[in-house]
């Protein structure tokens, strides 16, 4: 039952309540008046929706194209996957048996169009739990169903019934223009969609994989060793399929369908397309400990997203200057590191032609082949530190004359007396860049200073000494 505007209404009923004359939408007070022994429970639409979504995900064992439908249905696109189950009849029987076992009452319909399947599932003659409309028999199959089966709103249904159009067949026989004028385009659109004259795409729950392999178990498995074996077998199957196409997988999704209907997943990406079964299996099995098998796993599905052509050419990460090629492939190592630490954690440093220190060296993905050395140090440029702090760290500094380095500064609670200094090296902002303001003041004066112990720092003063603002000092890096 639901609470609606202060009245309690019945939201859903079970078969014996239907037999007693109850129906959804009836006020609870009325229902109790002629059925005092009625057992009621508050409706939980959010929980129901979540459960339906989970059920739709579970149906992923039949096809990757699944989605919840309204508040009480699941759509499955089985074109191209029914043969894996021995035909549509066998698939429907398997689905019904499994849903029974899990305690779901269900009606299953298979038809050429989404609209027809929806209509059949809800309005097929009672007693038919499984309704299969043969190919190209959609119009005939729909003709006998009531107009409610067209997914129309109640007002439209009432209008149609008032003029005596009770069955879909009646509607289809009428002249279109008159119908559209009287009942609106929606009615015609739903009719056309149900009959297959208008396309109706199904938006799936998740992304649709490019390649997909499945392993089902008659006896649910839960032993870690079995999970490893299943993973290895699937990786080998997937690789066989990928090899036929000359492709390698960039992203994988390994789904474990548990007997209780939950789906546990391992998702991972590879640094570059791969179809090495051992490598892929190793990446997946490494994460198997995150999978809770519960009471057992009945299906394992490995899906490859983002497939890229894979050439046989060996990758080599070579220094452009050294011209030394690595004989071994480091991609498997990078994958292993990336999958545990995140692919963002891995990078290379690449020189860029910019005189702004933080832009002269950028982080790039490790597997990109190194660009030509374009950011070579210009001759005569003052030395650069080995550690650069981003952002620069503010210090307290004391200095005498406008263009002088500080004679003393305090950083991280340590006081440093400056014994030697070089500079200033003036670095102006790249004013032609839109984001130039993010590097603080446009002009910085850099000094390389050495303290009393010989430690060397790269300090800069932001803002000109004679400017509007009092200059601020920062330490930007440390020299060796």
């Amino acid at each position: 039952m639901i609470d609606a505007a202060g009245r309690r209404l019945i939201a859903a009923v079970n078969p014996s309540a239907v037999a007693a004359g109850l129906a959804p939408g009836m006020p609870l007070a009325d229902a109790l008046s002629f059925l005092p022994g009625l057992a009621t429970a508050l409706a939980e639409p959010a929980t129901d929706a979540a459960a339906l979504r989970q059920l739709a995900e579970w149906c992923g064992r039949y096809s990757p194209w699944t989605a919840p439908d309204g508040s009480d249905g699941v759509r499955i696109e089985i074109t191209g996957s029914a043969h894996l189950w021995g035909g549509e009849t066998a698939l429907a029987a398997d689905l019904a048996a499994r849903l029974d076992r899990r305690g779901f009452a269900c009606r299953i319909a298979i038809a050429d169009t989404l609209g027809a399947a929806w209509a059949l599932a809800r309005f097929a003659p009672a007693g038919d739990r499984i309704a299969i409309l043969p190919v190209a028999a959609t119009r005939a199959g729909l003709a006998a169903l009531p107009v409610e089966a067209l997914r129309l709103d109640p007002a439209a249904v009432q209008g149609l019934r008032r003029v005596g159009l009770k069955r879909i067949g009646d509607l289809a026989a009428m002249p279109r223009a008159a119908l559209a004028r009287r009942f609106g385009e929606t009615v015609m659109q739903h009719l056309d969609q149900a009959q297959g004259d208008l396309p109706e795409p199904l938006s799936p729950l998740g992304e649709i994989p490019v390649r997909r392999v499945r392993l089902s178990f008659a006896e649910p498995i839960a032993d870690p060793a079995d999970l490893v074996r299943a993973t290895e077998r699937l990786a080998a199957d997937l690789v066989t399929r990928l090899a036929c196409e000359g492709a390698g997988a960039r992203r994988l999704d390994l789904a474990f369908h548990r007997v209780d209907g939950r789906v546990e997943r391992i998702r991972l990406g590879t640094a570059r397309p791969s179809r090495d079964p051992h490598h892929l299996a190793a990446l997946l099995t490494e994460r198997l400990d995150t999978i809770d098998p519960g009471l057992g796993i009945e299906d394992v599905i490995l899906a490859a997203f983002a497939v890229e052509p894979l050439t046989v050419e060996q990758f080599h990460l070579a220094g452009a200057s050294g011209g030394v090629a690595s004989g071994e492939d480091i991609a498997p190592l990078l994958d292993r590191l990336g999958n545990r630490l995140g692919l963002d954690a891995l990078y290379r440093l690449e020189a860029r032609p910019s005189h702004i220190p933080e832009r002269a060296s950028v982080q790039v993905a490790p597997m990109l082949s190194p660009a030509d050395a374009q950011g070579r140090d210009p001759p005569g440029r003052p030395p650069r530190p080995i550690r650069l702090f981003t952002p620069p760290q503010p210090i307290e500094a004391a200095w005498l004359l406008p263009d002088d380095p500080p004679f003393r500064f305090t950083w991280r609670h340590r006081s440093h007396r400056v014994a030697r200094a070089d500079g200033p090296e003036r670095i102006a902002g790249e004013w032609w860049r839109l984001d130039a303001s993010d590097c603080g003041d446009a002009v910085r004066d850099y000094y390389r200073v050495e303290d009393q112990d010989g430690c060397r720092f790269w300090l800069f003063r932001a803002g000109l000494a004679g400017g509007d603002h009092w200059p601020r000092w920062y330490v930007h890096g440390v020299f060796a």
Partner: protein, 270 residues
């Protein structure tokens, strides 16, 4: 007869002591003074080496990184492959590495904040083929972790450099003197530089009191060396190339306290 036996035994002992060297060879520094102090005439490949700075540099890790970069430059010159450098913060600067003789293009960085993840990444790297060396900047290091790294390095022949970088003074005090199984342990200390022949730009300023910054001077201490004796040198590093030169050898002498040397040096430089 007995003399021959003795020679054979000595040879045997030497082989046991220098297991890593016998297996994977050494890479010389190219400085006679240092190479003499290292068994096998250079830094053992396929072994774990620890490098750390002193004072503020125990946190910044600039000296340790520069010394490591110089070593890596030599390793990479002799072998094909890349270096994996695991660090907790993104503060390693490409142009600075290049100035130490290490081509950043042959470096893959792994940035993870936790010591445990850095150690894990190092071990994975040491097991993988195709790497020349693995570097890790580690704060807290358990003795068993250092043994794992040393064994992994011995097995694969990949050289492991452990840069000690402590987050604060407390961690530094706790970790500084803990034993580990590294084949060599190095400590690098900054020393005041000698004035360059040309006065610096700052020197032209109105205050006029500024001395220019010369080439970096380091005290390089070999604190521990398996199969060798501790030693210490004073070195100068050329700014642009990172090439080392020994200024004063202090091998086979116990390292004096840093401050005494620093002040003595200051006095000498005037």
């Amino acid at each position: 007869m007995s003399r021959e036996l003795l020679t054979a035994l000595r040879e045997q002992v030497r082989r046991i002591e220098r297991r890593a060297i016998a297996m994977h060879g050494t890479t010389p520094f190219g400085l006679a003074a240092i190479d003499r102090a290292l068994p096998g005439g250079g830094l053992a490949r396929g072994a774990l080496h620890e490098i750390r700075g002193t004072a503020g540099d125990e946190e910044d890790g600039a000296l340790a990184a520069a010394f490591a970069a110089i070593i890596l430059g030599r390793l990479l010159a002799a072998a094909a492959g890349i270096v994996l450098w695991c660090l907790p913060r993104p503060d390693l600067y490409g142009p600075g590495l290049a100035a130490c003789g290490l081509d950043p293009a042959r470096l893959v960085l792994v940035e993870v904040p936790r010591d445990a993840d850095i150690l894990w990444a190092m071990e994975e790297g040491l097991r993988a083929p195709g790497l020349v060396a693995v570097v890790g900047e580690v704060g807290t290091l358990a003795a068993v972790a250092s043994r794992r790294l040393q064994l992994a390095a011995e097995r694969s022949g990949v050289t492991a450099l452990l840069l000690r970088r402590w987050r604060d003074a407390r961690e530094a005090a706790r970790e500084r003197n803990l034993p580990n199984v590294a084949t060599t342990r190095w400590r690098i200390t900054a020393l005041p530089s000698q004035p360059p022949p040309i006065p610096s730009l700052a020197g032209r300023g109105g205050s006029g009191g500024w001395l220019g910054v010369g080439s970096a001077r380091w005290r390089v201490e070999l604190l521990r060396c398996r199969g060798g004796a501790p030693a210490s040198w004073q070195m100068e590093v050329a700014d642009a190339t990172g090439s080392l030169s020994v200024v004063a050898a202090m091998a086979d002498r116990p390292a004096p306290p840093i401050h005494a040397v620093a002040s003595e040096n200051l006095r000498r430089s005037g």
